[in-house]
Symmetry: C2
Subunit: 327 residues, 2 copies
């Protein structure tokens, strides 16, 4: 039995939507039991009759833009309690939330703690690429601002474990994000990491931000601050172009007719780009599986986040990471 | 008379294409004379009969991926000679090249030198936004890797001068790129710059990478390394989505018909996104106007880069920057 601690508060769309996703998830995964954290009355209603769910009542909700200190004061919040239990109870395999990323990172680090052998956890996100069905995991996308070269090497190893276990790639192609492909380009820490990674299986050198999503990379390693910039500029540009496309089809009667004809192709593109499928971000290097769904997750997105956590638990990624870093 | 030193070598498409752009530019700007740097035979042929062009023969070409030391050894190259002359000859107002960015930055810094009062030049690029006709200038996009808070303050001031002079915005809205909008988010240097910029006309605080192109920002200031990541991830994501759109319309007969109907709207989108219109990047803070066209500039793109240089010379941006930084 896989046990997940699931925080059902703090999302943009409310606990009803997350409970709907949780119910759909439980229907398909008979070997999972869930500790559900949130408002007792709300959850009792939305999760009535779910015999593999235990409600753990909470009194507070962590706001999206919480500071680290702010989070640590919210000891009765659903996220704090879920993380605290995950840190103490060996039966819990993983935690899923769609609440504050800041709270999630600080809470995991302090309450669940890093897996043996891990110096620094990294926030990782799988991205779709221009090659259909091919994903790239990028880490760190913002658990830290700055990282030293040893941490970057850790990130490369953790990313490789993730790509093996979750993407099913036998020898993942690993790249360091830089401002040029040549050896020696980039920040000092990444130049040093380049040298430390030489000879590491699958390490291919530097890549530029414009090539991150070209479908040839399994793992892209970066310090947290530029990783966060990368993540958000990809999101922002995709949103801008989606808006432009909509406007292009709304231009006149002909373009509207054009949309109707082209719809099947565009729908496929929309599905391919649907970030809700990837289930959000993952904090790698923590002692438990730790998945952070998007703050605006609908039921479908949250179900996918639960699925990601489930698959990560099944694949025993936490112990695999400890082993890989202990080399 | 405005005098431009124009390097016609080192581009991906060859000097013919650039000469074509130069000829088109000269037709529309009777008050410009040009010093044309490049292969003597080639340019004599392609610029025959141009009475406002003086050919300055060169024997070497700077490769795209040149190292700083490599550039400094290429003393007979078109780019080196153009920059050397721009540094020595007070009659030259500006320099335009579509060659190596690395060579352009190091050459300007060492041969043309910073404008009075400028500690650090910044590579700036105007970006289209989701609001039609509204541009945002982002700097630094890679002249440096790291910058201190005083340099970031300089970038804000230089960006504001650019937005006033070139975008025609009376009081430009200035933002610092960060990983969160709250004061105190980001790297130490940008947190410090935030405090130094408080009260500066038009300074609005932090912005996240996903909102950079939302059309509400005139100037976005960042240290060079994340700025470079931002630039290239915008380019990469736009290219990926353009490819996906093409594939969507190629899917079947219906989608192909849809494309024909929607073409007028899509064409407008394509035009809006055409980076060749913006004319490339600008090195702000240098003693002369310094424009770097895209390496793969066609005639149209190079003509636009020449136009950008022309307008910057006309608006006397170099002295305006020195004044703004001398405050």
């Amino acid at each position: 039995m896989i046990v997940l601690a699931v925080d059902l508060m703090g999302s943009d769309l409310g606990p009803e939507e997350l409970c709907k996703g949780l119910r759909a998830f439980l229907k398909k995964t008979p070997d999972v039991s869930v500790l559900a954290y949130g408002d007792k009355d709300k959850l009792s209603e939305d999760l009535a009759g779910q015999d593999r769910v235990t409600i753990r009542p909470s009194e507070q909700v962590v706001p999206m833009e919480v500071s680290p200190m702010g989070f640590l004061r919210l000891k009765k919040s659903s996220m704090y309690l879920a993380l605290q239990d995950a840190g103490k109870d060996p039966k819990i395999d993983g935690i899923v939330t769609s609440g504050s990323t800041g709270g999630f990172v600080i809470g995991n680090t302090l309450l669940v703690k890093n897996a043996p052998g891990v110096a620094r956890a990294a926030l990782a996100a799988p991205f779709i690429t221009k090659v259909k069905g091919k994903n790239t995991v990028i880490l760190d996308i913002g658990a830290s601002n700055q990282n030293n070269s040893d941490e970057l090497v850790e990130f490369a190893k953790m990313g490789a474990v993730y790509a093996k276990k979750i993407f099913g790639v036998p020898e993942p192609a690993i790249y360091l994000l830089s401002n040029g492909v040549e050896e020696g380009k980039g920040l000092k820490e990444s130049v040093d990491a380049y040298h430390k990674l030489e000879g590491f299986p699958g390490f291919k050198g530097n890549c530029e931000a414009r090539d991150v999503l070209d479908g040839t990379k399994d793992v892209v390693v970066t310090t947290g601050y530029p990783g966060n910039i990368l993540l958000k500029s990809i999101e922002g540009t995709a949103a801008m172009m989606t808006g432009m496309m909509k406007a292009a089809f709304q231009k006149n009667l002909w373009t509207k007719i054009g949309y109707l004809f082209a719809r099947s192709g565009l729908k496929e593109m929309k599905e391919q780009m649907d970030y809700r499928k990837t289930g959000g971000a993952i904090l790698l290097g923590i002692n438990k599986v730790a998945v952070k769904a998007h703050g605006n997750s609908n039921a479908y997105a949250f179900e996918n986040a639960l699925n990601v956590a489930y698959r990560m638990c099944q694949s025993q990624i936490v112990s695999a990471i400890s082993e890989a870093l202990g080399d």
